[in-house]
């Protein structure tokens, strides 16, 4: 265990990469989730169909497969497309970008389901009341839909976030120098793989415990007006 302490800076910088990756993917997945949910609830069947294909596709394919496809194949496709249309020059897809896009894409589909369910849980009459008061759609979203949507979405959002943190470990397989990659390299070089992997597990447990505290605080905040049994 002494050698783990010796390599603490390597582990900490890896943890920083993991956290950055998780936060960036979370942002992307929330955006995709909001777009996906509004597409699924749209009156027009075309966005509904597209969002349906999106969620089915993601449910069918493991995240690591998407990540590798994007990392090894995406580079070529993006640059062929850029050369054909002339819209952009050479683009490099590094491990971080491939990780953010694939994890964000996968969890965007789960977020879509989360937000869709949360919006459906808001009584239709409240939206109608907003319209009859002359509120604009944006104002209805800000004052009526959003505060209640967050409350309904939080439990499932928490699950998605915990899943997302764990999914970040996979980026080490395509070679991003994240927590897992740094730890397994260090573990091999000092011949103590168990100690280093165990340290990684503990760090992941600390990350999830911290997010648990934060999300509980949010949960209390958005449930202030609700009488719980």
């Amino acid at each position: 265990m002494d050698s783990v302490w010796e390599y603490r800076n390597l582990l900490l910088s890896g943890t920083a990469v993991t956290v950055q990756l998780a936060l960036a993917s979370l942002t992307l997945s929330v955006l995709l989730g909001l777009i996906g949910a509004s597409a699924k609830l749209a009156v027009n069947p075309i966005p509904r169909r597209i969002a349906g294909i999106y969620t089915t596709l993601v449910r069918g394919v493991p995240d690591l497969v998407l990540m590798m496809l994007l990392f090894y194949g995406g580079q070529q496709v993006v640059n062929d497309l850029g050369a054909a249309t002339g819209w952009w020059d050479y683009v490099e897809i590094n491990q971080f970008i491939a990780g953010v896009w694939s994890i964000g894409f996968v969890f965007g589909a789960y977020m879509t389901e989360t937000f869709r369910g949360a919006i459906l849980a808001i009584p239709r009459g409240q939206i109608e009341a907003g319209i009859s008061c002359g509120m604009t759609p944006l104002l209805i979203f800000r004052r009526i839909t959003w505060p209640q949507m967050v409350r309904h979405a939080l439990p499932s959002f928490t699950n998605n976030w915990l899943g997302l943190i764990k999914a970040t470990a996979l980026v080490s397989v395509i070679g991003l120098h994240d927590l897992v990659w740094n730890a397994s390299t260090a573990g091999r070089s000092v011949r103590e793989p168990f100690s280093f992997m165990f340290a990684v597990l503990i760090i992941y447990l600390i990350l999830t415990a911290f997010s648990d505290v934060g999300l509980r605080w949010l949960d209390r905040r958005y449930n202030v007006g609700v009488d719980r049994a």
């Binding site: 496809l69 194949g73 496709v77 168990f194």
Partner: protein
């Protein structure tokens, strides 16, 4: 020469299209499709075995958790918290690469046949992992047993054990079925970890193909299709199963009446 050009067989024509014009060299994939089927066998083998072992472990653990059995509840909670709070990839690394650190393990009789073998390490880790998840949602299902069912069982004079066996478990299994179908698909998705510890599962074969012919995406696209087909079969199977076992819970179809 022109005649020879004409006399190409249909097969040669396909190979030509595939190599020169198609964005995806499908004939190359077709040549190695048997490898992908063997990969699918390994993926299914590990997934199904670990689900079986994990499921069998989860039942007593969930009962102990649901009834807050003293001495057991705390450690079981720790077990599920640990396995649910950390990535399966790291758990697998810990067992497969990590255990070699200890001389005791390397000198034990288990080392040769089991603990130095990637297949066994994956099976052990995956089983414990799915046991952790299954325990928690099964506990939820047991705790949500309708009070009336338990009161009825008590009124009939059933002992605690008989009540659990005859009333609580059958009804909890049914309520847990939708969550379980998610767990099965989740396990199938997680099984890609196999390819990181040298095993040739579906993704492993895809990576091998890409590495061997220096391709960008053929192997991954094929792997993707294989996974999608498997998930399709699993979710269709569960939908039929749910229809059979949860029929009494569905809202009644008032249209026919």
């Amino acid at each position: 020469m022109a005649m020879a050009e004409q006399e190409r067989t249909f097969f040669e024509y396909l190979v030509y299209i595939s190599e020169n014009h198609s964005p995806l060299d499908f004939m190359l994939v077709a040549d190695h499709i048997d490898k992908f089927f063997f990969g699918a066998l390994l993926t299914l083998e590990i997934t199904i075995l670990s689900l079986l072992i994990g499921g069998v472990m989860a039942v007593p653990l969930a009962i102990a958790r649901a009834y807050r059995t003293p001495w057991f509840n705390g450690p079981i909670w720790g077990f599920t918290y640990f396995f649910r709070g950390t990535p399966l990839l790291v758990q697998t690394y810990l067992v497969y690469y990590g255990l070699a650190q200890f001389d005791v393990v390397r000198e034990s009789f288990l080392w040769g046949p089991i603990l130095s073998n990637a297949w066994w390490c994956a099976l052990i880790t995956f089983s414990l992992n799915t046991a952790g998840y299954t325990t928690e949602f099964l506990r939820g299902a047991i705790e949500n047993t309708p009070k009336g069912e338990i009161e009825a069982a008590r009124a009939c004079g059933m002992s605690q054990a008989r009540m659990i066996w005859r009333i609580v478990l059958p009804s909890a299994f049914r309520r847990a079925l939708p969550a379980y179908s998610n767990e099965v698909i989740f396990m199938l998705h997680s099984s890609v970890v196999l390819s990181t510890i040298t095993l040739q599962d579906i993704l492993g074969v895809g990576r091998w193909l890409n590495g061997r012919y220096y391709l960008a995406y053929e192997g991954f696209v094929t792997a993707m299709v294989f996974y999608m087909v498997l998930v399709f079969f699993i979710s269709t199977g569960f939908r039929l199963w749910e229809k059979r076992w949860l029929g009494h819970l569905r809202p009644r179809d008032t249209a026919d009446a």
